[in-house]
Amino acid sequence: MAVLLALVRLAVALELLPPWAYGVGAILLLGVTLEAMFRGFQAALLPGIGLLLVGIGWGYGNTPAVLLALLGVGALYWAWAPRMSEREQASFWGWVLVWPSLGLLLVWQIFPSLYALWLSFLDRFNFIGQSRFAGLLNYEILLTRDPLFWKAMGNTFWFVIFTVPLGILLATVVAILLNERVRLLGFFRTLYFLPYITALTAAAAVWDWIYHPEFGFLNWVLGTPGLDWLSTPQGIFALAMAPLGIHLQGFWAGPSVAFVAIMVMSLWHLLGYQVVVILAGLQNIPKEYYEAAQLDGASWWQQQRYITWPLLSPTTFFLSTLGLIGAFQVFTQVLIMTPTGGVLQDTLTITLYLYNKGFRDSDFSYASAIAVVVFTVILVLTLVQQRVLERRVNYET
């Protein structure tokens, strides 16, 4: 009920409802709650009352009322507690402890999401003019007539395909090596880990400089002066196949050279985290397994293959889920290294596209529709991944 009230308050704040609606709503709810509380002596509703009163006080900008409400609930509880049953105590404390977080999540996450969902049904909402209800039009355009959206989805696909397995593989190799009782473990670990704690803004600025066609370090190392990594839109598969006389087009041309450059930077940034997590996973594997394997004459390679890899699967599963979700959120590095999304929109990611639609073309409806589609895709993919991979993951109990 307090949830309802919070929504009413927000609606008033956004001028969707007149101000008196809040007062009326609050009084109605308060009455209902009081009635229910005294009839059933439901202690669980006590924090609700407190919150309602706090809400009313806050809603009308009355600080003493807020404090009074809090004190009142405290006093009520104190007076009431000795007569409360165990169950009532539990429900009282359960709600008291949950409310602050829940309230914040409601106001700052769930309500804005619902608002965004509502926006996605409008026609070109930009806050300035009037926009009419358009139903599923935005979704129809997005899914059937928008090549850039599919381009961005394709790029996200390549990002997952390239960075997730490669990142986990590299991190596993490094972690296994670090786990071989090397000296200077702390030193190596620090070097691998530093990129992860570096702000992406600063990191992307440095990499931009390394990829620079004229002054860039990379071109000097490779002896390819003038090669402009970040504005080479040709797909890498197309480039690789061209000498063989095979001309690949569109999606099959693969991610562009520029996008691969961004993937490399992203790999660099995340690798440290993956190494640390996998290292922890390795250290959780009992030493006895290896000792037993050594007694059986298993080679180093066999040990990794038949002990480390399967026992590490919960960790790799966790990292791949994280990588999958992360791929849909790639933004900062693309914005700083290729602000326009690449020469031929070849580094466009889904988040950058959403940002462009909302903040450049001021079509918040369409941007919201993209967000909703991304939300759905992530949800489905995570569920599928859990279904498919969970069976193979070897949980050690």
Partner: protein, 418 residues
Amino acid sequence: MKYLTIAFFAFLSLSLAQQRPEEIIKGQCEKASVVAELWHGFTGGAPKTALENLVVEFNRTQNGQVCVRPIGQGNYRDLSTKIKAAFASGKVPAMAQAFENNMALYLESDALTPMAALGIDLKGVNPLFVNAVTFNKQIYGVPFNKSIQVLYYNRDLLKKYNAKVPTTINAFIATAKQISQGEKAPVYFFQPDTSTFSYWFFTLGGSYLQNGKLVLNSPKAVETLELLVQGVKEGWARPITSGFINANFGVGPYAFSTDTSAGYSFYLQAAKFDLGVATLPGRTDKQPGFGLVQGTNLVVFKRADEKEKKVAADFLKFVISPKVQAVFGVATNYVPVNLGSGADPVVTQYIKQNPAFGVAITQARYAKFEPALSDWEQIRFDILGQAIKEAVLGQATPKAALDKAQKAAEDLLAGRTR
């Protein structure tokens, strides 16, 4: 006129003072009964300082009763987002910087106050600039910080080949070819984007609007794009796809580029050669080519408080006066929007040391604008810009690329796509 002269000298003394103008404005607005906010997109450097100095000076003439407060909202893109959100939250500023396509968007919901209603007379302001802010015969803003395309060239290289600075397109192409052959590398640097395309397109006599309808694939447009593609094929034009041209001087011998006058100081900083600036080559040598104008205007929002609007009106009158434009232009290298500023001693003195500034002022008389459509930014980047890049990079023929762009633009404008 008198107070302007005083204002100017106060302005001078101000730039000497060590106190930051931001602080001074804070003090000025503390006791003012009416504060008109001006939201801008200058992130720093000379433009921001010059704007603040200008505001300080204006506030000083108001005897502390009213004041203007400039508020930086990040870059232009941040600014336009903030303004939209301001509409949502109901607290709009009195004034803001706006591009012509932003203005078209605001006007779709009738959010701007016409200048006539504020009693602002734009006599003396460059009529080409005023034309760009005129919608349905009403003027809805004052041109503020404007830059225009000019021809940049490498004096050292031209001298080496005994070449004159070309004044016609044909001479330009011939010179570029001659030097390119000598240097064995293309020497005309250009960004394959809508700006560069617009210069060639306008100068060859093209127009984006035909009978009020947007046409991107007119025969002139195809001809223009073919010329650029030809230039790349024949080896006298080099497309620059990453960053500004001045950041790419090292990739090969540079002789020419057609770029915005706002880039002058960056060109100067990056050039290790002797940098020259001239008006754009024209179709004939009778007059220069048409340069694309970019930069913002100042607009006043209808929803703003009446008292604030009054302050805004006074401020805008102050801003477009020849003296203030002269000082602002010299400080920022933007083209003074008032034609009278050219004769001001501040400007004439400055031009003696910086001839490039004089070139931009001359070029501003041969100016053109892109269409003021609310969807133009998207068309310019995602549709026309992409078509130009595709053609120049050899992924499609000019005709096919522009036909595709035309279809995409029509779909967008008809609401079939987003």
